[in-house]
């Protein structure tokens, strides 16, 4: 094996160790939070509350995945919330106004989400302009179009099955939504770990030029990633519809922006692209959900929530830098 390859391998191994320790640290923090919260507010561990937390967690996880799919390419998607709410309203209309069967309506909403995401990717790769500005613009285009078309009127006469699915409990505590989120997680894990497309996406994210020279169709995989991001955002939107039993034009939007970054970044997904942490994103989402519902149960005003979330994101970023410095200090093997 050549020097270069050795160095590459050891760097990758180190990165893997870095992730594991990031996720281990996250797990410890989550356990600490659960201990403190359930000690201060015993109601936190009641089956009903666990069910609600799990249902909220499912949405947070999928929102995180939607951002993670864009981060993998080294870009970002500021329009996750807008695509989410577009899917919500589209799904609602298909069910309520057109009276389509639920699965068809869901498929339509998901297809819309994927199409909007694909449009993001198409414009980004065609113009070469940063994904930040394109998705900032498209977020407003999509939200604006949704408001113009729906006049911001909520749709609350959806088929009974939708709300009933959201209230469904497996074994008394687990929401099927959480199982769906977990299933999506395993599919993404397989995609990024074991499929050619996934490896190509990560290669393009790590170093677009090198990937292009090695024959990776960079533009295509970036576009696919954005379509995937849109599809996942739409999925999160449909989960919210199931949870509320109605299609509200006020969900998503900018409210999803911070959580969408919190999950992946806390979990160890690199902002610079080329590395994703599927399990980490789920843990990151768990921490966010825990803090949000913990504050609620302990009756600490919701007003401070944003402060805690912001500080935790900062701490996560600092911890990440510290870890990177430590592994740098341990040194690349020199001869």
């Amino acid at each position: 094996m050549t020097d270069e390859a050795m160095r590459e391998l050891s760097a990758r191994r180190r990165l893997n160790v870095g992730w594991v320790s990031a996720q281990f640290g996250l797990l410890i923090i989550i356990v600490a939070f659960w201990t403190v919260i359930s000690w201060r507010a015993p109601g936190f561990l009641s089956p009903f509350n666990l069910f609600t937390v799990g249902r909220a967690l499912a949405v947070d996880i999928v929102i995180g995945f939607a951002q993670m799919a864009a981060l993998a390419t080294g870009g970002m998607n500021l329009s996750v919330g807008s695509i989410g709410v577009c899917a919500v309203m589209a799904g609602g209309h298909l069910m309520q106004t057109l009276g389509l069967p639920i699965p068809v309506a869901i498929a339509g909403a998901l297809a819309l989400g994927a199409a909007l995401g694909w449009l993001n990717g198409f414009v980004i790769t065609r113009t070469g302009v940063s994904s930040f500005i394109i998705t900032l613009a498209s977020a407003n285009l999509y939200s604006g179009a949704m408001l113009i078309l729906t006049k911001a009127v909520p749709l609350d006469r959806l088929p009974m099955g939708v709300g009933a699915f959201g209230k469904l409990k497996i074994a008394g505590v687990v929401s099927p939504l959480l199982l769906i989120a977990a299933a999506i997680g395993s599919l993404l894990f397989i995609l990024y770990r074991h499929s050619v497309l996934g490896r190509q996406i990560l290669a393009a994210g790590a170093n677009a030029r090198a990937a292009k020279m090695s024959g990776v169709p960079v533009d295509r995989v970036v576009t696919i990633s954005h379509a995937l991001s849109g599809l996942l955002a739409a999925t999160a939107g449909m989960m919210v519809v199931a949870r509320l039993g109605a299609a509200m034009p006020a969900v998503g939007g900018e409210d999803w922006l911070l959580p969408s970054f919190l999950g992946p970044v806390l979990g160890g997904t690199l902002l610079s692209g080329g590395a994703v942490a599927v399990v980490g994103t789920m843990l990151g989402a768990l921490l966010v959900t825990t803090i949000r519902s913990g504050l609620l149960v302990m009756q600490i005003g919701n007003f401070w929530l944003q402060l805690y979330l912001g500080v935790i994101l900062l701490l996560a970023v600092l911890a990440d830098r510290y870890r990177a410095l430590q592994s740098e200090r341990r040194g690349i093997p020199r001869r």
Binding site: M76, V123, T127, G128, V129, S130, F132, I133, I134, L136, A137, S138, A139, N140, L141, Y142, S143, G144, A145, L147, I148, K151, A152, L257, L258, F261, V265, L271, S272, G301, F303, W304, L305, Q306, L307, Y308, L309, G310, V311, L313, L314, V317, L318, D320, R321
Partner: protein, 318 residues
């Protein structure tokens, strides 16, 4: 044709033409447009927007961004309000306090960005959330209503169609124009934005450039917040909540490069004026307000495309 092409290459020429055309069309369609009162109301709300756009333009100049402009503006606004209502600060003392808070917030953003080496996007996303949390935590989202008469009066006063409030952004723009074109620190900021490695190799301190850009940005966000309080007559916790899009749209439509190193003070101001004109026109034409967001998004895309075309044609890009 050649002249037309040349004019298109000047950043703000298209904007100026669009503004003139738009104003002419508006005065034709809506007779109320040219009334003194309508122009005054439009310019008064522009005053805040101008400062917000300039605040973002500075961070764009060094190749970074400040997602926290609005959050910092909101926090500053309520501290400004609290200082006057709860602690009885006179206006002239409360303004420096507010500006100080803004600069401090910018300092935190700048130091965190430089010291961690993490993308300013994620740092300011986090601090934005923290600033908003403090804002809502302190106020419980209840505004401060009892603002001194002197401040509110200043916010209402005008010469003809020109509001007194407009003086602040014009002064700031003048100073910024001088700063970026004539002074060494200003040139260093842009040099760093254009090529950080080359700038550092020529002895420009990364830390000083990034921190000072964020401090200036925070300072202007705070100034915008003070104007917003004067304009609204109360310190609302929601001030700044809708600044983000405008803050990016205006500098970019005005010709700033997202990659840093290239900004246009005049272009940014024209862009704010154009956006204000569009908003005003939509109100006068009684267009569904939901269209505003859509049109803003579309305009950014058009501007990005135009900037790119200009960059390719003026040889700045291969």
């Amino acid at each position: 044709m050649k002249l037309f092409r040349h004019l298109l290459l000047v950043e703000w020429s298209g904007l100026a033409a669009a503004i003139l055309l738009g104003a002419a069309a508006l005065s034709f369609i809506a007779p109320n447009f040219l009334t003194e009162f309508n122009l005054y109301v439009m310019l008064r709300s522009l005053s805040v927007g101008l400062l917000v756009a300039l605040a973002q333009m500075i961070t764009l100049g060094v190749g970074q961004m400040n997602i926290a402009v609005g959050a910092l503006g909101g926090l500053t606004a309520i501290i400004f309000g609290a200082a006057m209502e709860l602690y009885g600060f006179p206006v002239l003392l409360a303004i420096p306090v507010a500006l100080g808070i803004g600069a401090l917030g910018g300092l935190i953003n700048g130091l965190l960005t430089v010291r961690t080496g993490v993308n300013a996007f994620i740092i300011t996303l986090a601090t934005a959330s923290a600033f908003t949390g403090i804002n809502f935590g302190i106020t419980g989202s209840i505004p401060f209503y009892k603002m001194p008469a002197a401040l509110v009066g200043f916010g209402d006063r005008h010469w003809g169609a020109l509001p007194y409030l407009l003086v602040a952004p014009l002064l700031v723009a003048l100073l910024l124009g001088q700063f970026f074109s004539r002074t060494a620190p200003g040139r260093q900021l842009l040099a760093f934005g254009g090529n950080p490695q080359a700038a550092e190799l020529s002895g420009i301190s990364r830390e000083r450039v990034v921190v000072s850009a964020h401090v200036l940005s925070g300072l202007l966000a705070a100034a915008a917040a003070v104007l917003a309080v004067a304009q609204l007559g109360s310190a609302q916790p929601t001030i700044g909540a809708d600044w983000l899009l405008l803050s990016f749209a205006a500098p970019i439509i005005g010709g700033a490069a997202l990659t840093g190193g290239h900004i246009s003070v005049l272009g940014t101001m024209f862009a704010v004026l154009l956006l204000g004109l569009i908003q005003n026109g939509m109100v006068l034409a009684k267009v569904d307000p939901y269209w505003v967001q859509f049109v803003l998004g579309a305009l950014i895309l058009v501007a990005v495309g135009l900037n790119r075309w200009r960059a390719v044609n003026s040889g700045r890009l291969e």
